[in-house]
């Protein structure tokens, strides 16, 4: 843990709770998929410090432009657990109306943009959002979240290049978790680091220990100050590790060694923060147990609530394609409703 810790005690305790909550939610997410209760899940286990560290260092008005592995960021931003689990279940309460695979949530009120699945496309979107924020005179930053794999994508290059040229308030937050499904980081690029890539775009790239909450928090704070002061973007490479599979459809034993996973288990980000808090006597074993129990209970309640909600009503299939209804789609809707009525289709 970074020793020059001038991060307030309250922030660290809040971070510990959020990271613990994130892990509890994440573990249940995987289990729910294994039990066949939800269709899919993308675990972030091991990346809690990177995600909560970045999330808490941002202002609530800053724009989060996530990928699909960011539950720690979503929780740090304050998105209710129930919203997330409703999305995993794709139920009637899901604000996405059951339209996306689990983990692709978004919530406008929290300036948390709804994720998509293509890798890297969100990076240039964040630059566009930043351009609009500057134009409107809002003192906010845009933060695209992505992994090591996305640094090879077209839109990483476009986003970095546009943000550099236009001097935009963007913090490119890369969680280098070692693996892009089966491709190790060293096969993704010959670049000595991912942070080094910022050089060619004309702005700073910073590599931080992504399992060290304080290091991440401070790096993001610094990048944010730079951006708000009109000094342009920063690329942050948070070096961390994906402890689990890429998704519940992946089997990492096919491509990586157990020893590598074990070596990272010794660097667990939650344990590190916990040890720091205990050493400072800001929390004790009883306090830790209480947080663990409370967060597990919160997750259980969100799951129970989500399971009570029915699926979205069938006719919503046709909503939100366009702002206005158009004839071709309305004809399809009518035919669809007729087939439902006749029992040819069953909800």
């Amino acid at each position: 843990m970074s020793e020059d810790a001038d991060v307030p005690k309250e922030t660290l305790l809040r971070a510990f709770r959020l990271m613990t909550l994130g892990r509890a939610a994440d573990e249940r997410g995987v289990n729910l998929q294994r039990q066949g209760r939800i269709g899919f899940y993308v675990p972030m286990n091991g990346q809690e410090a990177a995600q909560v560290g970045c999330g808490l260092a941002l202002d609530p008005k800053d724009w989060i432009v996530p990928a699909y592995r960011e539950i720690g960021v979503a929780l740090a931003r304050g998105i209710p657990l129930k919203t997330l689990f409703d999305q995993f279940y794709g139920n009637a309460a899901d604000i996405l109306k059951g339209r996306q695979m689990p983990c692709h949530y978004g919530y406008r009120a929290f300036r948390y943009v709804t994720a998509s699945s293509p890798v890297g496309t969100q990076i240039i979107l964040a630059a566009g959002i930043a351009q609009a924020s500057v134009y409107k005179g809002e003192k906010v930053v845009s933060v695209p979240f992505f992994g090591d794999g996305a640094t090879s994508s077209n839109d990483f290059h476009a986003g970095m290049n546009f943000a550099g040229v236009l001097n935009l308030p963007v913090i490119f937050f890369c969680q280098n978790n070692g693996w892009a499904i089966s491709l190790p980081r060293e096969k993704q690029t010959r670049s000595a680091s991912l942070a080094a890539k910022a050089d060619a775009y004309g702005f700073p790239g910073v590599q931080v220990d992504g399992n060290d909450f304080i290091a991440v928090y401070r790096a993001v704070q610094e990048a944010r100050q730079r951006a708000i002061a009109g000094k342009g973007p920063t690329l942050i490479e948070a070096v961390t590790f994906r402890m689990g599979p890429h998704s519940t459809s992946d089997d990492p034993s096919r491509y990586r060694k157990q020893e590598e996973v074990a070596s990272w288990r010794a660097k667990d980000p939650i344990e590190h923060l916990r040890d720091f808090l205990v050493a400072k006597k800001w929390i004790d074993e009883a306090g830790i147990d209480k947080i663990e129990e409370e967060t597990k209970q919160q997750v259980q309640e969100a799951i129970e609530a989500a399971e009570k909600s029915p699926p979205p009503s069938p006719e919503t299939l046709f909503d939100d394609v366009f702002h206005d209804r158009w004839r071709i789609l309305e004809e399809e809707r009518s035919e669809f409703m007729e087939l439902l009525k006749e029992g040819v289709l069953r909800a």
């Binding site: 604000i95 496309t121 134009y135 077209n154 476009a158 939100d320 702002h323 158009w326 004839r327």
Partner: protein, 325 residues
């Protein structure tokens, strides 16, 4: 009313929209200082400045991605892609992001933007400055696809596109940028989406076209008129949303239909019109629907005039359809 060209119609629409609403921002390659390689954005940089007319790096995915991001933050961006042939690096942004944002977010994040791009052949542009690939976009739910054929429509449809709530692919027929002339109405004269225009009235055969093929079809109709065949030319104007009533109404009147486009025939938009006629007014038909289109080859350079539907080829198609029993 003033006499103007099609590209002047585009330019006027941009100027009027930008003057009216500070949220309207133009971005693209060479659109600023240079005024666009076709001069569509001529004078805008000088009038509105570099914050509203942005010269971007050479990156189509970057241009469209930026525009989507700006739309998510509440602006009304108008992105220019220099040629439709170069739009493909942005295809992922258009199809995966712009088209799906409203739907995938349950309506939380509409992404309204306009992507203007010159399309089509007839300018000796070869493989990569000539193509018409509108069907790639009409087959993607969530996108509107608009193609004007007159200066007044270029202006009026672009104004509607800029103030619409959804992503619009605005295809400009570059072949007739300067040859299509006509009266331009003053001010913010919008033309609604989903309303086809009768370019020439007739009673014997319905001819459906859009963009640069509309004047070709009108000329072909004039040719067959001398043979006593009265063709009705319908300018579809917007492919999404399509004017179903105009298509069905005309075919019910004439009983015969020809569909004309520059794009290759196989899986082209003409197939959609043909199927629409088959599904909705088959029993009005007195002859098979005929398509007069570009051929199913990549777009040629030297032989482009043989590739594109010519007035004579269209006239032949109308004549055959009119005489088929």
């Amino acid at each position: 009313m003033t006499e103007a060209t099609l590209i002047q119609g585009v330019n006027q629409a941009l100027r009027i929209a930008m003057a009216k609403d500070p949220d309207v921002i133009v971005l693209g390659e060479d659109v600023g200082v240079n005024g666009g390689v076709f001069r569509a954005t001529d004078g805008l940089y000088k009038e509105f400045g570099e914050k509203r007319v942005i010269d971007t790096p050479l990156s189509e995915n970057g241009i469209v991605g930026m525009a989507i991001g700006m739309a998510l933050q509440g602006l009304k961006p108008v992105a220019e892609i220099q040629f439709m042939d170069f739009i493909y690096p942005a295809f992922d942004q258009i199809v995966s992001e712009a088209a799906k944002f409203r739907y995938r977010s349950g309506g939380e994040f509409p992404s309204h933007l306009v992507i203007r791009t010159p399309y089509g052949g007839g300018i000796k542009g070869g493989l990569y400055h000539s193509q018409s690939t509108e069907q790639l976009f009409t087959s993607t739910p969530g996108l509107k696809v608009v193609i004007p054929s007159t200066p007044a429509d270029a202006k009026g449809l672009l104004l509607t596109a800029i103030f619409d709530e959804d992503p619009v692919i605005f295809l400009e027929p570059k072949r007739i940028y300067r040859t299509a002339t006509g009266e331009l109405p003053e001010g913010d004269a919008r033309v609604p989406f989903g309303k086809a225009r009768i370019a020439k009235e007739g009673s014997d055969v319905s001819v459906f076209a859009y963009g640069a093929m509309v004047p070709q079809c009108v000329q072909a109709a004039n040719v067959v008129e001398k043979m006593g065949i009265h063709a009705e030319v319908i300018d579809l104007r917007t492919l999404v949303p399509i004017d179903v009533d105009a298509i069905v109404g005309s075919v019910e009147k004439t009983g015969r239909a020809v569909v004309v486009h520059e794009a290759p025939k196989f899986s082209g938009f003409g197939a959609e019109i043909s199927a629409m006629i088959a599904e909705r007014c088959l029993y009005s038909l007195k002859a098979p629907v005929l398509r007069v289109t570009g051929y199913d080859t990549p777009f040629p350079y030297t032989l482009e005039n043989l590739y594109l539907p010519s007035v004579d080829r269209i006239a032949r198609g109308i004549e055959r359809t009119a005489s088929a029993t």
